[in-house]
Amino acid sequence: MNVPLKAIGQPVSRVDGPDKVQGHARYAAEFDQPDLMHAAMVLSTIPSGTITAIETKAARSAPGVHAVITHENAPRLPYAPMAKRPQVDAQGGDQLKVFQDPTIRFNGQPVAVVVAETLEQAVHAADLVRVSYEHADGHTTFDRARGRAPSRGNEKAGRPADTEIGDADAALKSAAVSIDANYVQAREHHNAIEPHATIAAWDGDHLTLHDKTQWPDNDRDEIAHVFGIKKENIHVVSPFVGGAFGSALRTWPHVTVAALAARVVQRPVRLELTRRQCYTSIGFRPHTEQRVALGAAADGTLTAIVQEAFGQTATYEEYAETTLDPARNTYACPNVRTRYRLIEMNTNSPCPMRSPGVATGMLALETAMDELAVALRMDPLELRLKNYADRDQHKNLPWSSKELRACYRVAAERFGWSERTPEPRSMRRNGHLIGYGMATAVYPSHRAKASAAATLLRDGTALIRTAGSDMGPGTYTSMTQVAAETLGLPVERVRIELGDTDMPYAPVHGGSITMASVGTAVQAACQALLDDLAGVVKASPDPRLAAFKAGTPEWRDGGLAGPGGVISFAELMEGLGFDRITAEGQSAPGNESKTHSSAAFGAVFAEVEVDPDFGTVRVPRIVGAYDIGRVVNPKTARSQCVGGMVQGVGMALLEQAEWDERFGRPMNGNLAEYVVPVCADIRSLDVTFVPGEDTIFNPLGVKGVAELGLSGVSAAIGNAVYHATGRRVREFPILPERLLMG
């Protein structure tokens, strides 16, 4: 095979692809353990109250049952507080402590777990458990009047209650043109196709967890605190994650349930959530209601931005989002006020879902910008260019890189934006109303401390290990490319191992930080390996290596270059008599976040066709152009954007939990009625990356892509629906009914 010398930037096919297409990749629930038992949970059926009695006799005597664990007989767990809550956890309140008290905090809370020899026996016995409750008043409605400011923990974590520069309300009053509108974003569920699952196995006081997680190291830390044991006693294994989109960032209560069950029965236990349980046992994107008011001069110059958000949270812990981040720095505007309030409800805790906070905030902001463009009788793209933010005005810092103007230009050209006639209902085709809409996309870029180990083996191949996870974007592949390029090896001679706490520490696989964080650590580890190797070569008495000692070592073509040609890694290892040589590399954020603000940017354009008789909307085309810094792999990067566009179609038109206020739970907890896009809902998707790399932000020059891919998409679609029909639906998703009857 003709191997590219430069691995970074090449459209390398995913290295785990062959395993995945043959069904050989092993996910959390699929590991064999000797004497494995199966667990099935019993969940509360009321949103608020107390368990008065829990009848387990029938379940305990059912065939194959080894244990029925409830708050009445569960071992008391220490739930030792962590020195600092990891950023993936809720930053206020207290996590749900399973089976430690009779209090019911939400509908779907685990109240018992049955452990049996077979799954069928466990499920059957779980069905026999009878729970009596005393109901208590709770909150199952989203009532803005109960909105309260986030607590100090969330303020400190970047979710402030109130911010203001200038005097936005005064500027709004005196603006030549203004709009003021309310928007609703439905509660959305991740619905990764793999349900969450854990296999827990104790060996004395050592615990092995095969778990679905985006952060193995934190999974270990969390469970160590829950059980009050040393984290070194816990081994988390998670080589493949079947999609997560944020749902596996934190360690959910069912992981504790599995570990607890395994400890009680003294055998390995598998607990797999059913699809329905995935609607209450893990998090979701919170229902959020927003007000956006914009003021502008007659020429479109923004003079005021007011954005207020009310987000849903649980009663027992406080999850808050960065919903209002985009309001503060997406556009240049001297007067900006934001206000964030939380509404406690008897629900399981929300959590980040792809482009968390930002997707929700951008939906409102970018819809409002479209409304302002209409009010100004101005082209929506021109309005964005008019208010282009050359600096991050909120942090008062320059951008480390920003190619958003190029994104607007490229995407508009590829889309054919100039063919748009501005009047709503002015474009038709085959009896359908056609609409064009656009929006800005943005997602802040972050990085975190990470480490990796690079090993050169005797056969001259390299093995890279880091505890980080790959939930699907292609971490195995992109890390292979970084290592191959740094070492000067073809990608086929590099192997990556991920998802194991025995490997060097890696940060959370979320927030699009993996490439900038783990990627730079892999780069550093490979460089350290080469440096070590050079040192060993220099010190070696082997006469065959004498020619390679002079000057700065030059690594290329799978080895070390010298006057007489290249000596391969295999020959070097042979000459040195090494079986393996390993080096670790670390990377961490530097001063760049103090001197610069970093973000990935994009422009998204969508075409819709609306059937005016039924209000059904289809999306023939989405075009996006993105500034993600250096593109490590155009194939995997494009897939992130395309996948984001499709989740954006879901967010704009289809996806919502149908919330039952009587019982405080979603009615449509299944994939038939929680409607995600199918193949036929998707037609042309066009992705372009504009040139650029951001070496201020990190040495690889990358910025991150996954979250960005969803940002702005749903607003672009909604704006296109307005353009098609002249109807502004402000409650998302834009269901046929809302469009036709609205």
Partner: protein, 499 residues
């Protein structure tokens, strides 16, 4: 113990990885997916939803049809193990041979059609059946149809579609085709035409091989659950925790799946699958073909049957309103007694049908459209495929010149059952296609025919509006002479008029 046939078999037999597997001891409600993952430990096949929505569990079943082995995709999560009797069971681990990927697998890798990889096995298996069976050239629409029952949350589908198109560029040529004579011989070797009965009188999986054996067995066990495709009964097991102990699978009853396409009428046997009936229904009218294309998913259509869909009595089932409007008659049998009734009379109330204990649906027949007859049916759903209708409307109008001489109108999603609209039908008689004002009384009459409910799928108001607009669409299309290609995209005055 005898199930009624001459020969009795107390095991199921199927082909798996080149061997004939015989299973004697299994629970009647054991699902194929559990057999694969838990018993066989072939965990390549995934469980994403356990109700036939996501397709991660898709496997291919090969059966001999017209002398040829034909593979169809099925949802293993809602298919009883017993239903694979007589089939070649192919799962995702089986496609590659000697380290060489199957063409669809290679294309999925090359085009980045797999990301997290969890939906991938199901998608690979759906594409395998496309690769094997689809007419060339394979179009993008054919790929969409093939993948309607496979949800993917990562890739945005485009890379998968590209992979499918690339893999299916040439004619199919894989090792299964090379071995097809052996496979056919193996399958014919186990096709013994015997009645199957596994279990005892209190708990069994039975598969009678003849209608008489079925009639006798069901008369003896009227409390048994009849299973045709299991696309709904599967959910009773996985979601409803139903303790189904007696299963009579209809899939082996000789002749019960017969489709007779006569010059006057089309008769569809109860166990003909939606896939098998698709072409014949489409030949009645192109709208019927389009309706079937959007019915469930390929996996559901490959398992689910016309008779099962009717007997099950879903208030929204898309087929029943269309058949009612066409004027279908249903034939039922109990013991030796056979009776027929108009389809609409079969649906009594919500999930309650006119079917006695021990009685089973035998076949449904539909008279073909006459020279002056026009037919339209449409479904309105949120997502394009694999979505239950909010409202489904079907209209058969007999025209004399430009006037409607008689009408049959039926809707799904407007009442507790699929239901005719007698008042509306009456108001349509005598109406001129050239006088839209004369349509109004018929629109108004819909209010007398239907009092739909608000539920989470749609509000009553939306249902009423859509029901009206569907009728308007049908009349408008007939009036303007627009034909097949406008069925989904005709000119619509309704929203403009409503403003």
């Amino acid at each position: 113990m005898r199930a009624g046939g001459d020969i009795m078999r107390q095991a199921i037999r199927f082909r798996r990885r080149g061997r004939i597997v015989e299973v004697r001891d299994f629970s009647p409600r054991t699902l194929l997916l559990d057999y694969l993952r838990l018993t066989e430990r072939s965990v390549g096949t995934k469980e994403g939803c356990a109700e036939g929505d996501c397709g991660a569990c898709t496997v291919a079943l090969g059966r001999v049809r017209d002398g040829r082995v034909v593979y169809e995709p099925v949802n293993a999560c809602i298919l009883l193990l017993g239903q694979v009797d007589g089939a070649d069971v192919v799962s995702v681990e089986d496609l590659a041979a000697d380290g060489v990927l199957h063409p669809v697998q290679a294309a999925m890798v090359e085009h980045h059609g797999s990301q997290c990889g969890f939906c991938t096995p199901g998608i690979v298996m759906s594409l395998y059946t496309l690769y094997r069976e689809a007419e060339r050239p394979v179009t993008r629409e054919a790929v969409n149809d093939c993948l309607a029952g496979n949800l993917c949350r990562c890739t945005g589908y485009r890379p998968i579609v590209d992979a499918a198109l690339a893999a299916c560029e040439g004619p199919p040529a894989d090792r299964f085709l090379a071995e097809s004579e052996t496979i056919r011989a193996d399958l014919e070797g186990i096709a013994d035409g015997a009645d199957i009965f596994v279990g005892d009188d209190t708990r069994f999986f039975a598969a009678p091989a003849s209608e008489d054996a079925l009639a006798a067995l069901y008369a003896r066990h009227p409390d048994a659950t009849l299973v045709a495709g299991c696309t709904d009964v599967g959910l009773w097991i996985t979601k409803g925790m139903a303790a189904i102990d007696k299963v009579i699978w209809l899939g082996r009853v000789a002749g019960l799946d017969a489709i007779e396409a006569g010059p006057e009428a089309l008769t569809i046997g109860a166990t003909a699958t939606h896939s098998a009936a698709h072409a014949s229904l489409g030949a009645l009218d192109p709208d019927m073909g389009e309706l079937m294309r959007r019915f469930g998913s390929v996996q559901v259509r490959a398992s689910g049957t016309v008779g099962g869909n009717i007997a099950n009595g879903s208030p929204i089932g898309d087929l029943a309103p269309a058949l009612i409007a066409l004027g279908a008659a249903l034939e039922l049998r109990k013991g030796d007694r056979v009776r027929a009734l108009p389809l609409e009379e079969f649906f009594l109330a919500y999930r309650k049908q006119d079917r006695e204990p021990g009685e089973f649906v035998r076949r449904v027949s539909v008279n073909r459209l006459g020279a002056g007859d026009a037919f339209r049916c449409f479904k309105v759903s949120k997502r394009f495929d694999e979505d239950i209708s909010a409202v489904m409307g079907a209209f058969r109008l007999a025209l004399v010149g430009r006037r409607i001489a008689s009408a049959r109108v039926a809707y799904g999603g407007m009442a507790a059952t699929p239901k005719r609209a007698p008042e509306t039908e009456a108001m349509l008689v005598g109406v001129s296609l050239d006088d839209p004002a004369s349509w109004e009384p018929a629109f108004a009459a819909l209010a007398a025919d239907f009092q739909p409910l608000d539920d989470h799928r749609a509000s009553a108001a939306y249902r009423r509006t859509v029901a009206r607009n569907l009728l308007a669409k049908a009349l408008h299309e007939l009036a303007t002479g627009r034909t097949d290609e406008t069925r989904l995209v005709g000119e619509r005055p309704a929203l403009q008029a409503a403003e």
